[in-house]
């Protein structure tokens, strides 16, 4: 057998959860058994690759025979044998397991820059990265450019921070160079605290060297010799891969002393976060690296003047830094060709919630939301109707279905009362209650408030109390106005971005779904059928066949009735868990 065979198994967090490790082992075993591995060692390899964004269909496997690539979805270890014998040995791909139904649309309608290498290269192999022009940008900057030229290039590209605020990266770097101080730091913010967002995790797991390269270039530009990556401990795989990547980069001479013989020294240290959302905020994050309670301080002075250990410090998000090597390699003009006038480049978006194809996608800035939800995401799952898209996490807001043509860029999202944030988008359908969504986010910010400033500590608590009573059917007249005025006060007077943006989910849901709030308060009704206290379940006798399925799943034993006769729910005992509603095949349970 003289074929060139390469097998790529998706081994991101999603791939591993779906059994990627076992699939890889099964390939290894099946190939070794046939002696394929042994006889043509050089020509046949099984690789792990990072997340390619479509974790919902994991385990995804690419089988490339003599350059022809076929991708399989939902692969389990016991399917491997057949793929090896029919596809690799006999040359006919196993048609029924190949990807179908929207897989190509999902990928082809994206524009992949950062994600192009994720899912193609082995993240634990530095040579795989180098073979795809990796570390060329580092070499270019260190050997042919001055710090000034590097900053000008990044400024010209129009790159803006991907961590939330969208601050121009080149300008931030420049301000750090203006302070005369021999010790400076560069920090990568990999805390990714927004729930429902995972682009930074995927980039580190799938292409860690791009981040390292971005940090080296940033450090050179501002004159820093020590960098930190502050990464959440909840991402163990990303931490491991980054650790290995740093060791490999050091061994290859891209990190450490006298990099590439240019006399420039730079090293990176990893700091594990300890589970506090507020530590994503720049001043709090620096306190945390210093080993203290991560509480923000008032600014100015800005971190670029007085940051970590009071030294000038540049803090950038993972995605921001990972863009830098591509900008240097391909030129500022290439980058600026993507996107809109004020938002350049591409953005990685985590598309989740009630969507058919959830996953990680990359689009040029300014693409209409509709294209993301329908063309790439494949529309709403289960044939339900789209209600809204929540963007920007706990600091963000909801974009209602009527505004589905809003372009996704910094300015346009702000105009409709939401934010780009770090790029998490949660799709909500008609069965989601907007008051409950606002309550969910306030519960989050209330518990994550560090407590240093009063408006945030007590304000979020009061806001949550009001929302809670509304969802429990105890809402009072004037509650909506109270929410609005209190939100305004908390936003205006909080110390850091956490409090300043915490009321956003409330403001945006009141703006677009005031009627839903009113239904809860005045009619004691939850239109989406979510808020338990405003719900009751009953059985429609005509439809009930007496199959007893509901009484068997009821955890409270609240459903009685004889076999083949209509059943009944004892309201006093019902805990409103909805188990019967989901179990009934005859649609005879009524919610309302």
């Amino acid at each position: 057998m003289n074929k060139d065979v390469s097998i790529k198994v998706c081994m991101g967090t999603g791939g591993i959860a779906a059994g990627g490790g076992e699939v890889m082992a099964a390939f290894d075993r099946a190939l070794t058994q046939r002696g394929i591995q042994a006889s043509v060692e050089k020509h046949c390899s099984v690789h792990q690759v990072g997340c390619r964004g479509f974790c919902a269909r994991d385990v995804l496997v690419d089988v490339i025979v003599d350059g022809a690539k076929a991708t399989y979805e939902y692969i389990k270890p016991d399917m491997v044998e057949k793929i090896v014998s029919e596809h690799i040995v006999s040359g006919t791909p196993v048609a029924e397991w190949l990807v179908k139904d929207g897989y190509d649309d999902f990928h082809n309608k994206q524009v992949k820059v950062l994600l192009a290498d994720c899912g193609e290269l082995d993240p634990e192999d530095i040579n795989a990265y180098i073979n795809r022009k990796g570390y060329e940008a580092t070499r270019k900057v260190l050997t042919t450019m001055t710090p000034r030229e590097t900053i000008d290039e990044v400024k010209a590209s129009g790159l803006r921070g991907r961590g939330g605020a969208g601050f121009p990266t080149g300008v931030k770097w420049e301000s750090a160079t203006k302070v005369d101080e021999p010790i400076k730091y560069i920090i990568c913010n990999a805390d990714e605290g927004d729930p429902g967002a995972f682009m930074d995790r995927a980039i580190i797991e799938g292409n860690p060297h791009a981040l390292i390269e971005g940090m080296i270039i940033g450090a050179f530009a501002i004159g820093s010799h020590k960098g930190y990556v502050y990464i959440r401990a909840e991402y163990p795989l990303a931490v491991d891969r980054l650790r290995k990547a740093i060791v490999d980069a050091k061994a290859a001479g891209y990190l450490g002393e006298n990099i590439l013989g240019t006399g420039f020294d730079f090293d990176i240290k990893i700091n594990l976060g300890a589970g506090a959302f507020v530590c994503g905020e720049s001043t709090a994050l620096m306190r945390s690296i210093e080993g203290r309670r991560g509480m923000p301080r008032p600014t100015p002075p800005r971190s670029t003047e007085k940051g970590l250990y009071d030294k000038p410090t540049v803090l950038n998000n993972v995605e921001t830094l990972a863009n830098v090597p591509y900008i240097i390699r391909n030129g500022a003009a290439w980058f600026a060709a993507y996107g809109t006038e004020k938002s350049k480049g591409t953005k990685v978006v985590a598309l989740t919630g009630k969507i058919k194809n959830p996953g990680l996608i990359e689009i040029p800035m300014g693409v209409p939301l509709r294209q993301i939800v329908y063309d790439i995401g494949g529309g709403i799952e289960g044939g339900k109707r789209l209600k809204a898209v929540q963007s920007g996490g706990p600091s963000g807001g909801c974009i209602p279905v009527e505004l589905i043509d809003t372009p996704v860029d910094f300015e346009s999202l702000a105009k409709v009362g939401s934010i780009m944030g770090s790029g998490g988008m949660v799709v909500l359908d008609e069965t989601d209650c907007m008051v409950n969504v606002a309550k969910y986010f306030l519960k989050f910010t209330e518990s994550e408030s560090c407590g240093k400033c009063i408006p945030c500590r007590i304000g979020t608590k009061r806001l949550l109390e009001i929302l809670t009573r509304i969802t429990e059917g105890k809402g009072r007249e004037g509650d909506i106005e109270l929410l609005e005025s209190l939100s305004y006060d908390v936003m205006a007077s909080s110390l850091c971005g956490l409090g300043q943006s915490a009321p956003n989910p409330i403001m945006s849901t009141i703006r677009y779904y005031r009627d839903e709030y009113e239904a809860h308060i005045y009619e004691k009704r939850c239109p989406a059928g979510v808020c338990k206290d405003l719900l009751s379940y009953s059985i429609v006798e005509e439809f009930c066949k007496g199959c007893t399925a509901c009484s068997r799943v009821c955890p409270a034993g609240a459903i009685i009735g004889e076999k083949k006769k209509p059943h009944k729910i004892i309201q006093d005992m019902c805990i409103k868990c909805g188990a019967c509603f989901e179990t009934c095949k005859f649609k005879s349970i009524r919610k309302g």
Binding site: T13, G14, I16, A17, A18, F54, C55, A56, D58, E192, G193, D194, P195, G196, A197, F198, R201, A202, A233, E234, Y235, A238, K269, N271, L272, G273, A274, G275, A276, F277, S288, I289, E290, G291, R292, R293, G294, A350, L351, T352, G353, K354, P358, G359, L360, Q390, G393, G424, V426, L428, D432, V437, Y440, F441, F444, C450, P555, C577, G578, A579
Partner: protein
């Protein structure tokens, strides 16, 4: 205990660590922040124990009480929330007899931890059972998982002393 702590302190001095990294190492080594361990380190470094407790109560990662043998981490992130994680968590707490306001069962067999997002949102809802990530969890799947936990060989979460 002192040997392990000495090793932690050596590592800390070599790597220019900070109090948080020491505490993460202690938590990792013993499963929680043992009072005697904190006191010992506090004396060695001449840093008041209150500083350690200040940090411990600030960050969600630290535990002042021992964790259960089996640690089940439930994601409460947005994607998991809209996919029904709340119901999964309620049934976990009920099935494993976790007392109200606590996260560990009285027999120290199970800990149910809630986290804000484990970054696997596209396979929401996500539950992690002893470090194995389970995606697209349904109530049925969860019940099966709990059953195996209750009957199966007890997996050790970490070395205990």
């Amino acid at each position: 205990m002192e040997d392990k702590l000495t090793a932690i302190l050596t590592r800390y001095r070599e790597n220019e660590g900070n109090l948080i990294s020491i505490m993460q190492d202690i938590e990792h080594e013993f499963g929680y922040l043992r009072e005697d361990a904190i006191n010992w380190v506090s004396e060695q470094l001449d840093v008041p124990a209150s500083k350690f407790y200040g940090i411990a109560t600030f960050y969600a990662q630290f535990h002042l009480k021992p964790k259960g043998k089996n640690v089940i981490t439930a994601c409460c992130g947005t994607a998991c929330h809209v996919k029904g994680s709340e119901r999964l968590i309620n049934s976990l707490v009920k099935e494993l007899n976790i007392p109200d306001g606590d996260d560990t069962s009285e027999d120290l067999k199970y800990t149910v931890e809630k986290v804000n997002c484990v970054g696997a949102c596209s396979i929401a809802p996500v539950i992690i059972v002893n470090k194995a990530v389970h995606g697209k969890v349904t109530p049925d799947k969860l019940m099966k998982e709990i059953k195996t936990l209750k009957e199966g060989p007890k997996k050790e979460y970490t070395d205990y002393i």
